[in-house]
């Protein structure tokens, strides 16, 4: 029995030739993503005359207008991530539980809206969010509010709209993890005396955590960088970092500031991705 314990990887491992399969994709990424980003990074650290400078970073972090947008961007991304998690987690379970036709319906219901343009969705949302829209009418009808709420052009509307779009990116990774977990584990927990809550927090949640972390990383990094959705939903009075980037490049023709904000946005997204992959590694390290 003990011979199984020493089953470590063979020494002197050579590069797996299958890794070469990723080369075309990596080349594409390199050309379309890494190179431009390097340009952006370089530009963000130069002033208009081309000298090394961190002036635009100083300008960014000392400007309340920019900081408000930074705060809003992060808050909206966090709220969107939490809301997609809240809605997506049970959905992923329903999806994993469902069979055949029902499963197809849930999948279609989630994937199909992705193919509907954001603009079309924005029109739909405006109908829902209006003062005499569905949400307000319902809340008024239920007597929860006695004045219609202003939802249009608010951060609340943005979070709801972004959640609508990003939901599948939360559901699918969690679903994939659930699919891989042994349903007997929950039965085992139950027979060992674990009630539903204990079972959820000690078995289900820890086991699906990798899916949650992956989904949260997806949604957060997309939400932090979204441009079209805020443009359509909250308009110009409530700026986010992506809107500031577009504004800097296109309207103010201030490429230094545009590059700087891009770099900051990238740093936030990279931070989240790195943190989540570290967490994922830790999690799988315990199980593998």
């Amino acid at each position: 029995m003990s011979q199984f314990n020493g089953a470590a990887a063979a020494p002197g491992r050579r590069t797996d030739p299958f890794l070469l399969l990723a080369v075309p994709a990596l080349c594409l990424l390199g050309m379309l993503f890494v190179l431009p980003i390097v340009f952006l990074l370089v530009k963000s650290f130069r002033d208009t005359t081309g000298n090394l400078s961190i002036a635009t970073y100083v300008a960014f972090f000392s400007d309340p207008f920019m900081l408000t947008a930074l705060r809003r961007t992060i808050v909206v991304a966090i709220e969107t991530t939490l809301l997609t998690l809240l809605l997506g987690y049970p959905t992923a379970f329903a999806l994993a539980r469902a069979r055949g036709f029902t499963q197809t319906i849930i999948l279609i219901a989630m994937i199909l809206p992705l193919s509907v343009g954001v603009i079309v969705k924005a029109f739909a949302w405006s109908i829902v969010f209006r003062t005499d829209g569905v949400i307000n009418k319902t809340l008024l009808g239920l007597g929860i509010i006695d004045q219609p709420l202003r939802l249009l052009f608010t951060e609340t509307a943005l979070v709801i709209g972004a959640t609508n779009i990003f939901l599948p990116f939360m559901v699918l990774p969690i679903y994939a993890v659930i699919r891989q977990t042994d349903p007997n584990l929950r039965s085992a927990a139950a027979t060992l005396g674990a009630g539903p809550l204990f079972c959820f927090f000690r078995v289900t949640l820890p086991l699906t955590l990798p899916g949650i972390v992956a989904g949260a990383a997806f949604v957060f990094s997309m939400a932090v960088a979204m441009y079209v959705i805020p443009n359509l939903i909250i308009g110009e009075r409530t700026q986010t970092l992506s809107m500031l980037i577009a504004r800097s490049f296109l309207y103010l023709r201030n490429e230094q500031m545009g590059s700087t904000i891009s770099t900051i946005l990238l740093a936030i997204a990279a931070f989240i991705v790195i943190v989540s992959s570290v967490i994922l590694k830790r999690l799988s390290g315990r199980q593998a």
């Binding site: 924005a122 029109f123 405006s126 003062t131 052009f153 443009n231 308009g235 409530t238 504004r247 296109l250």
Partner: protein, 348 residues
């Protein structure tokens, strides 16, 4: 421009137009043998009429396909700039202020009567900077309002406290955003628009007073326009005839007001891209756009003021209201600052 350069240019132009004429005569055979494509940049809102009116007529006459890329003026500028070494756009239809920037960055080539004879027939003030660009038809801009609001006869109505949270204005990123700014200057100073347009501090102070009424500031029109039609908002400032009136005729419960203080001529310009592909076809396209025949159709179908003086019997602008065209050079010089100042002022 040096004398040599000038003579050189005229000679080249002559040769070009000679070639163009020859090509046109031989058009049915040669051009159809390999269908040429002419890429035209323009505003997204132009897409419908370019594809439905201009392109079919042009394709029929010249046998070349028009590929229209509709986006924002500033995006068009960006496209020209980043492809400066090897342009792929031949003609661009964009707003005058952006034209000035394009001229400054040496991206345009002049529309000469030799290239496009119709440029000589345009009314005063529509050909700019020695033919670098020309206006073809100009929509006019006022206030779009929901029909539940009565008597939008003055721009002061936007400031009426009765409309708290029910007004939307365009961002200064959008050309039509300038109208609220200039009108604010006029209302604040009492000076005529021609003078008031330089009183920007007064304009910003007046816009500050508008904030309680503002539900939002838009950069993308669609959502806000939708809200106007749904009566979620009462007024949408700076709207232009070519977009609003078709919606009115389609039955939306909105209308476009021409308030007594004045309306604005939208700066719809057309230009030739320097060293753009298919120069002969490009010149022919511009010439058609400036011609009386196409303009009389466009003026009516887009509810715009024609620039060609030979267009007759088209009644577009409301009578007795001043149509104002601002000093775009001044706008161009200051716009980035204004946008920054405006965004900060409007930020929540």
């Amino acid at each position: 421009m040096t004398k040599n350069g000038f003579s050189d240019l005229t000679r080249r132009s002559f040769l070009k137009s000679a070639t163009a004429t020859a090509t046109l005569l031989a058009a049915p055979g040669i051009l159809r043998a390999e269908t040429k494509e002419l890429v035209v940049g323009g505003a997204a809102s132009h897409t419908k009429w370019v594809e439905e009116i201009v392109a079919p007529a042009f394709e029929k006459k010249y046998g070349a396909r028009i590929i229209f890329e509709g986006t924002k003026s500033l995006v068009n500028l960006e496209k020209m700039q980043s492809n400066k070494a090897k342009p792929y756009l031949s003609v661009v239809q964009m707003d005058d202020p952006v034209m000035i920037m394009a001229v400054n960055e040496n991206l345009l080539t002049p529309i000469t009567p030799a290239l496009a004879p119709n440029v000589a027939k345009l009314r005063q003030g529509t050909v700019h900077m020695d033919g670098m660009w020309a206006n073809y038809v100009q929509p006019w801009a006022g206030i779009a309002y929901n029909k539940s609001v009565s008597g939008v006869d003055s721009w002061t109505k936007l400031w009426d406290p009765a409309f708290k949270g029910r007004v939307v204005i365009p961002s200064l990123q959008n050309t039509e955003g300038m109208w609220t700014l200039f009108m604010a200057a006029h209302l604040a100073t009492g000076k005529p628009l021609a003078e008031a347009q330089y009183e920007i501090d007064a304009a910003f102070a007046k816009l500050e007073e508008l904030k309680p009424n503002l539900l939002n500031v838009y950069a993308v029109l669609t959502q806000s326009f939708n809200l106007l039609e749904q009566n979620e908002i009462a007024m949408l400032a700076g709207q232009f005839s070519s977009y609003t009136i078709p919606r009115v005729t389609e039955g939306a419960t909105i209308d476009l007001a021409a308030p007594k203080e004045g309306i604005f001529a939208m700066p719809s310009g057309i230009c030739l891209v320097k060293d753009g592909p298919n120069p002969e076809l490009a010149a022919a396209y511009v010439n058609e756009m400036l011609g009386a025949e196409l303009q009389s159709i466009l003026a009516e179908s887009t509810y715009s003021l024609p620039a060609n003086t030979e267009v007759k019997g088209v009644d577009i602008a409301p009578a007795g209201i001043e149509v104002f065209g601002p000093d775009w050079a001044f706008v161009s010089k200051n716009r980035a600052n204004w946008i920054d100042r405006f965004d900060r002022m409007m930020a929540i």
